[in-house]
Amino acid sequence: MSKDKSEYLINRKDNQYEVVIGLEVHAQVTSESKLFSTSSTKFGAEPNTQVSLVDAALPGMLPVINEYCVKQAIKTGIGLKAKINKRSVFDRKNYFYADLPQGYQISQFKDPIVGEGKVILDMPDGQKEVGIERLHLEQDAGKSIHDLDPKNTFVDLNRSGVALMEIVSKPDLRSPDEVNAYVKKLRSIMRYLGTCDGNMQEGSLRADVNVSVRRKGTKEFGTRCEIKNVNSIKFMQMAIEYEANRQVDLIEEGQSIDQETRLFDTKKNETRSMRSKEDAHDYRYFPDPDLLPLEVSDDFIEKLKLEIPELPDEKKKRFIEKFKLSPYEATILVSDNETSNYFENVIKKSDVKLATNWIIGELFAALNEKNLEITESPISAGNLSKLINLIKDGTISGKIAKIVFENMMEGDKDPKKIVEEKGLKQESDPKALETLIDKVIDDNREKATEYKSGKVKLFGFFVGQVMKVSGGKANPQLVNEILKKKL
């Protein structure tokens, strides 16, 4: 048993193993056109409709760097608090495959555009810093489709040449949960920056996961295996769990671990060997002679710094300090830009505490149920703000507010109108309430007598009856006061 409850360890007999994980995340750069050509990057187009002469590697075609993608990579680097390299070099990574038209991928090998940086994770037991080794720009390959024809493979080059950022972490991650937090945080930062949409279904974010294990307390790293191209956080976590246990079992059996590339089979929930270190490709990297080294000035970088929005860490700090939110609440609300914008729009004209509770509670639950993003919320920030004010000024009770909220989820209706149309306004007229209460006491003579003879528990019963008769609209505070007098 470990002292720290969040420590992820694998136990075998008397031995405890620590898992060491490093991630190579491939994030598609948000950009209208590809890294070295002007073709569109739009997802979901008919196969081979977004392929330029350059993407198809016709003879004599030459790559020309897309400046926007360079800016996006630098912005991401700034977001990762990383060193921006003023000089970087594009290299060719040579290998043959049907969906790689050039016979090489243009990537950055020795001199990436972004150097060391860091990402802060908010774990249940506090913050954890994960080092970033580097970020480099590279081209995506096309797509081979093997299952459309029994004998032939079809190739779709729409993705060919799309810009990717490969973000390499240091081997600082220690558990599937940390991997979850890391990928989410990375995704959040890039979405704030607008440099990657983080859409994992569309393949905008994938990762190669490096896993090794070592006896707890050991300093040296174990032999690692690389699990290629995992495209969801859940699969990353499953793959790590399987792989770490596999490695531990091998060690326990006295066997050694081969450094190799493995694939995660999502159906069988296991990793399988793809190729060993000996079979590894010799990519024959060398600087692409069609491209000059990429040089950016201090001025260029400084201008981009001005375009960087408030990022999640800073926003969280502000939310805690300015709005007195708990770290938990703040973490949730800053998780993506859209949510925090929504929150800030709601509290422009309404109570912060109520807004926080309603967004994190009711709204998230309702959106989750309908599988909607915050940007697709049927309830606008303005209308949620109105609802909260109706509660705050006593027009409706919290209970009625839930009914109004449900109505609002059916379409972006003004809560005031719903309250009016459905007659949900809280009854706060003392005279009307007295009449109501008199009737309730009259209808429950026996219980009233019991109450007077000392059975004070029955007070709650009367409150309930009044609320029931009023259809929940009676102002509970007034009901309490009047009932006390009358009884």
Binding site: M61, N94, P289, D290
Partner: protein, 485 residues
């Protein structure tokens, strides 16, 4: 006018502008002579009837303000030409018809020139004798069974034989200057970055450069003026001030300092080359220029450096010819088998040799010893020139270590073939402009060329020196039309 094809480009332009000749007459004359010259095998693809049609259309509405008004021209088959088969001299591209035009050829058509056809060359420009072409040897019009040089051998043969008034080639290690030297013509390799590489089938990207080939320096200057342009589609294209090279051409080179590099006196160099060089020095002096002895200490390493850098880049550049997307495809059991058969059958022996050399020098474990070291030496070679240019305006050397050789003479000895480029290769490695001009004949009556190497972007000065020397040399090519029956 009977001898249309004997006229220089400048004469043809003047006659068309003066309406003494129509584009149709000129085009027909070159088409007829080309038709009679099939034995030279200079063309891979002829586009003669389309050329005559274009000439007729030009004559209907002649725009005489253009620089090449209605001038017919054949080009090396390494330039992609829209809707015209472009093979790079290879079986692997024997069925390839581009949907696009190279920037250099587009510049030419924009100035009113008309495509006659595509000229033979060594496969993927890899060769010094045009013998590696899938489409067969090219004959040098100088003599039967003599190579025209390479890789722009179809181009040099066609210009020398007057099948085209002028042409363009490409030069990676000497592929314009060596064939020019072998055929008694003028060939310019411009500064790297002067002419766009867009649409030119790549051999070695950091060395490839298109350039003009002509019968005289003035024609060469005019064509250089047309083809050189800054092009955003080529990231290595350089935006510098380009002269009107033909207009600004002058034979006044008084006071220019011309360097003579001692390292170019290589062992075993024939005496006639040595004599030619001496003669060249005298011509330069006659023009009023000053001769200065210089040293380019790393010259010896240029050839080995070139034969690492160029194949390395080529091995990667040629990876796209895999049978998947276009070009020749051999059937295979599976993807790998298809690749192997396609590339084994589609590429010739010399191309395969260079792909293997290139793959080897880039392999892990060998990269540092070969490729990286070659890049360092390349820098030293460039530094040599930089140092020299502190003292001189240009450098004079022989173009080649020998005159043209017989077809088949060196095919089984690649190293002796590679030695042909010994004087031209350093210029590509340093990215400098170089020109070969005909300067005399050897004992067999074969032409010999002298090379002038200039400072980067200093084509004007280079052309001026060549122009002044040309006047003094007064070279006459000895062509008997032996191939016309």
């Amino acid at each position: 006018m009977s001898d249309i094809t004997k006229q220089s480009l400048s004469e043809l332009i003047k006659n068309i502008k003066d309406k003494k000749l129509s584009s149709t007459e000129v085009t027909k004359a070159f088409v007829e002579r080309s038709e009679k010259s099939k034995e030279l095998n200079a063309y891979i693809t002829e586009d003669f009837s389309a050329a005559i049609d274009k000439a007729k259309r030009f004559d209907e509405k002649p725009n005489l303000d253009l620089k090449l008004p209605g001038i017919p021209m054949a080009v090396k088959d390494l330039f992609c030409t829209k809707n015209i088969k472009t093979t790079a001299g290879s079986k692997i591209l024997n069925n390839f018809i581009p949907t696009y035009e190279s920037t250099v050829t587009q510049n030419i058509w924009n100035e009113g020139a008309i495509l006659l056809g595509k000229l033979n060359c060594d496969e993927f420009a890899m060769g010094s004798s045009n013998e590696t072409s899938f489409f067969g040897n090219v004959q040098n019009p100088i003599d039967k069974d003599l190579v025209p040089g390479g890789s722009s051998g179809g181009s040099s043969s066609a210009v020398a034989a007057q099948l085209t008034p002028i042409t363009i080639g490409t030069d990676t290690g000497g592929s314009i200057r060596q064939p020019a030297s072998f055929t008694g013509t003028v060939g310019l390799k411009p500064t790297y970055g002067s002419c766009s590489r867009y649409g030119i089938v790549a051999f070695a990207s950091s060395l490839d450069q298109a350039g003009p080939m002509a019968q005289n320096v003035k024609d060469c200057a005019l064509l250089q003026e047309v083809i050189s342009s800054y092009d955003e589609k080529d990231s290595t294209s350089i935006d510098f001030k380009r002269n009107n090279y033909s207009k600004e051409l002058t034979n006044n080179i008084k006071g220019k300092k011309i360097g003579i590099p001692k390292e170019y006196r290589v062992d075993g160099m024939p005496k006639e080359i040595e004599d030619l060089w001496k003669k060249g020095i005298d011509y330069v002096k006659d023009c009023g220029a000053e001769i200065i002895d210089i040293s380019l200490p790393h010259t010896n390493y240029a050839l080995p450096t070139y034969y690492i850098v160029a194949p390395a880049e080529a091995s990667s550049n040629l990876a796209r010819y895999d049978g998947v997307k276009y070009g020749f495809r051999a059937d295979g059991e599976n993807l790998i088998d298809m690749y192997e058969k396609t590339r084994s059958e589609g590429f010739g022996a010399e191309v395969q040799r260079r792909i293997m050399i290139g793959t080897y020098v880039l392999s892990s474990g060998y990269y540092d010893a070969y490729y990286l070291k070659a890049q360092k030496v390349r820098k030293l070679i460039k530094n040599d020139f930089d140092e020299a240019y502190k003292k001189v305006d240009a450098i004079l050397t022989p173009s080649t270590p020998s005159s043209a050789f017989k077809i088949g003479e060196k095919t089984n000895d690649p190293v002796s073939m590679y030695l042909n480029d010994i004087f031209t290769v350093p210029v590509n490695l340093a990215g400098l402009p170089g020109i070969s001009i005909p300067a005399g004949h050897d004992a067999k009556g074969y032409p010999l060329g002298l090379q002038i190497i200039g400072k980067a972007f200093d084509e004007q000065n280079l052309l001026n020196i060549a122009y002044a020397m040309e006047e003094k040399i007064n070279f006459k090519n000895k062509i008997t039309d032996w191939w016309i029956k």
